[in-house]
């Protein structure tokens, strides 16, 4: 999928880009099926999400083939390459049952590398029920570092009063944002279904390499605590040449294997 110059400008300037109706209704049906099956598989056997706390699961295994395949889908992998204007690494396809609000944050502590996150909401969302909000332009300095997590202490306003773009969306819509863009969601229910596809730049200098290694160590530690590998065999054995390059590069960077959690 070839992006227009205008779409690239929008992403570069505002730090995000919206794609309306990127998935067909049939695809959203498959997405929803995989999503629920994949997330429920990470709950205790037979249990359903209780709506008390966020539940997260990786969706890169054989039991979620449609979602796992999206990492290689041209609508995402090709678009990520164009948005980052670099070689990329396919990092994750995952899902979340969110509960309530998600406070303001960027997805990275470092601007030494770039990344893009595609967000896919499986239910209609608006400002009142948990739609994603992003602060346009907050992916770049000095604006990026001026934004504070505690909006009441910093600015005297409620978190939902911070000026932002609200991603009103229908199933099938997708928003891609720079991982440095500040984002949040307010008013969500106890079972807000949000999926993501995440790509990082393939780091080519020591600063970017160190930054990617640091953020990936954080990712792996989450999996280690769950006693799982971040990258299952199903992900590693995908034969797509670009995918195989990702696997090789992750291994080269020491980021393929999830270290066992020391007891």
């Amino acid at each position: 999928m070839r992006l227009t110059e205008q779409q690239l400008n929008h992403f570069k300037t505002f730090g995000f880009l919206v794609f309306r109706g990127l998935f067909s209704a049939e695809e959203m049906g498959r997405y929803s099926y995989d999503f629920d099956a994949g997330l429920d598989a990470w709950l205790p056997l037979g249990a359903k999400h209780d709506g008390l706390q966020r539940h997260y699961a990786s969706l890169m295994d054989s039991n979620t083939p449609f979602v796992a395949s999206l990492m290689d889908d041209l609508r995402f992998a090709d678009v990520a390459e164009q948005l980052l204007d670099k070689k990329i690494l396919g990092i994750a396809a995952d899902g979340n049952y969110y509960v309530g609000d998600t406070r303001w944050h960027p997805d990275t502590h470092s601007l030494d590398y770039s990344g893009v996150k595609f967000t896919i909401y499986l239910d209609p969302q608006d400002a009142t029920n948990g739609a994603l909000r992003v602060v346009p332009g907050s992916h770049r300095e000095p604006f990026h570092s001026q934004i504070a997590r505690d909006t009441e202490a910093a600015y005297g306003v409620r978190p939902d009063e911070l000026p932002a773009f609200v991603f009103d969306s229908r199933p099938g819509d997708v928003l891609a944002f720079n991982v440095a863009t500040w984002h949040a969601a307010f008013g969500g229910g106890k079972h807000r279904r949000m999926a993501t596809l995440v790509y990082y730049e393939d780091p080519e200098n020591p600063e970017a390499t160190a930054a990617v290694q640091q953020v990936m160590r954080g990712n792996h530690s989450i999996y280690a605590k769950l006693g799982r590998q971040m990258y299952p065999e199903y992900y590693r054995s995908n034969s797509d040449p670009r995918h195989q390059r990702w696997v090789r590069r992750l291994a080269e960077l020491g980021l393929l294997e999830t270290p066992a959690l020391s007891s």
């Binding site: 400008n9 505002f14 332009g137 907050s138 000095p142 910093a154």
Partner: protein, 277 residues
């Protein structure tokens, strides 16, 4: 009026700040009366809704509005937000017609100014509420928006507006921004370098402003202010064949106000030049 540290932070970070119900109901009533009578007096009748009308309201026939530059709710707040010596520039009024396209009020983020906007009718995103792009008073966003939303005409050398569709693939009203939903009595102050616009407004959208500029301290800053003020004077002369600063405004006894008058005079921007011939 003392701002909190949080309010100052908000303005620094996002480039604007909101004050809900800054005016009482009786003040809103008075503002409206003076706004309409003052602007209609300049027109010499009623607004026909065909095009925007602008005029300064700093004369004896609009004493309440003229006094706002000296009102602590504005002057004190302006001083705290700009953090430097400043000059009271204008209280004015506009009958807007339809949309106002994206623009900053000053062509540079180097020279700071604070503009208070006061809307006399309830507004939301659908009917002409002010929209601002948070953080667009800061570089690199400020200049990037200029390079994306304007181009230089190769023949005239003039800066020409581009359609946001051409720049970003979206309609002007789809540029991501904060819409200032307001009721009469509310005010929003913004850094003049912030990009702002309004869409879906009626043929008679009433907006008043109170404006302060940072007192320029460097030759570069002086040149910027002189250029901007020459534009203001020229506009007033061309439109109304009148002085921008009337006698009534120059004679306000407040010491701070008199300091502004002296400084404007020193900078050569107090008198509206009368065109030759």
């Amino acid at each position: 009026m003392r701002l909190t540290e949080q309010q100052v932070n908000y303005f620094k970070t996002f480039g604007f700040l909101i004050f809900r119900q800054l005016f009482s109901a009786s003040e809103v009533k008075r503002y409206r009366q003076e706004f309409d009578s003052g602007l209609d007096a300049w027109i010499g009748g009623s607004h026909d809704g065909m095009k925007r009308v602008w005029a300064p309201l700093m004369d004896s026939n609009t004493p309440f509005i003229a006094s706002l530059l000296d009102d602590p709710r504005f002057v004190s707040v302006g001083e705290q937000l700009l953090g430097k010596e400043m000059m009271g520039i204008v209280t004015d009024a506009n009958y807007y017609v339809g949309d106002t396209q994206w623009h900053p009020d000053m062509g540079t983020a180097k020279q700071r100014a604070a503009k208070f906007t006061i809307y006399l009718d309830p507004l939301d995103a659908s009917n002409g509420a002010l929209r601002v792009i948070p953080g667009s008073h800061l570089e690199p966003l400020h200049s990037e928006l200029r390079s994306q939303l304007f181009r230089t005409d190769p023949q005239t050398g003039q800066s020409v507006r581009k359609d946001p569709q051409e720049a970003f693939g979206v309609r002007p009203d789809q540029i991501p921004a904060f819409a200032f939903e307001s009721n009469p009595g509310d005010a929003l102050v913004f850094n003049n370098a912030i990009w702002h616009a309004a869409f879906g407004g009626s043929e008679h959208r009433r907006m008043g402003t109170v404006i302060y500029y940072e007192d320029p301290q460097t030759p570069e800053a002086v040149a910027i202010i002189q250029k901007v003020m020459r534009g203001n004077h020229e506009n007033c002369q061309k439109t109304w064949n009148s002085q921008f600063y009337p006698e009534y405004w120059r004679k306000v006894g407040n010491p701070l106000h008199q300091q502004w008058v002296r400084r404007l005079d020193e900078l050569g921007i107090l008198e509206t030049p009368i065109p030759a011939g």
